[in-house]
Amino acid sequence: MEQTQLEARPDVPQHDVKQVIELIIDNVNQLKDTQGLKAPAQLDSATTLFGGDGFLDSMALVTLVVAVEQAIEEKFGTSVSLADPGAMSQEHSPYRTIGALADYAVQRLRAG
């Protein structure tokens, strides 16, 4: 039997918001293919995800956020939680656009 004492991770290097935007777009496209998600053909940082004219319903949002968390961990080797208490509020939600989600993810990555 192995025993592991888990410790906090060392400093996370700076990450490019652009890389995370690409990663989010990849994941949206994957959800289009695998789960029949209806999303606009053109996706960029200004694309609204959730709320307003966003294309995600609350369950699709959960699926996308969890997929992005895992993709970030695979790409950067750092586990982040993208849970946010403001998730369902329209104005300050980190989930309102692809760009907002990318900013939020990078902020969490930097916070370690």
Partner: protein, 232 residues
């Protein structure tokens, strides 16, 4: 199908340790955690030193489970603490500690487990409440509040996670011979037992049998339920 992967919290002693032995015997790949190191070993068992309410440690443990096994079939949220004391003599630090381990720990482990389980659209989560909830035991205000919250969490998580193929249920044991009740006077235990339909102490096997039922693949239509043992 490969052997199921079963995560059990609080495996150092008591019910958690027994459940780890039980599921190892049944051929599961068992992962466990506890704050203090365990003094027992078993082939096929992997232990993490992690506090269930420490988000960083818990997320790191799940990252490893994902890397090692790529899946999680079962989560048994057994880790829990108690403090038997009159409410007027209970410091808020004790209340916070009980709520943190019993409620926040159950929430955090369930959240992270569900993320992993939803990938396979299959999962079984079993939480731990107590007969102290329906019996409204005096002298256990903070503990009963925490275990009531676990029942409430079970109800809501059952609804939120059903579409991912995950069931969430709860077992509520009565008094068992564990450390949790070692300092409770015999008279008090007897008063609890008198309120059960079957007035005897529970056994580890009584608990394991109930958890077995919730974990069965055939129990996929059973969710949001709490089974109190001994007929309370």
């Amino acid at each position: 199908m490969d052997e199921p992967v079963t995560l059990i919290t609080g495996t150092r002693i008591g019910i958690g340790r027994h459940l780890a032995d039980h599921y190892l015997r049944l051929g599961h790949r068992v992962v466990g955690c506890s704050r203090k190191p365990v003094d027992w070993t078993h082939e096929g068992y992997k232990h993490y030193g992690a506090d269930v309410a420490d988000e960083k440690a818990v997320k790191a443990m799940f990252s490893e489970i994902r890397r090692t096994h790529g899946r999680l079939d079962h989560l048994i949220n057994n880790a829990g603490i108690a403090s038997m004391n009159h409410s007027l003599l209970t410091p808020t630090s004790t209340v916070n500690a009980i709520l943190t381990t019993n409620v926040v720990g159950t929430f955090l482990l369930s959240r992270e487990a569900a993320k992993l389980m939803k990938q396979k659209r299959y999962g079984r989560i079993v939480n731990f409440s107590s007969v102290a909830v329906p019996l409204k035991l005096a002298g256990e205000a903070a503990y009963v509040a925490s275990k009531s919250a676990v029942v409430a969490l079970t109800h809501v998580l059952a609804r939120e996670l059903s579409e991912f193929g995950i069931t969430v249920n709860c077992v509520g044991p009565g008094p068992l011979a564990t450390n949790l009740i070692r300092s409770v006077p015999r008279q008090k235990i007897d008063r609890v037992l008198e309120q059960q339909a079957i007035p005897r102490m529970g056994t580890f096997d009584d608990v394991a049998n109930t958890v077995d039922f919730f974990l069965r693949p055939e129990s996929g239509f059973v969710t949001g339920q709490t089974i109190y043992l001994g007929g309370v």
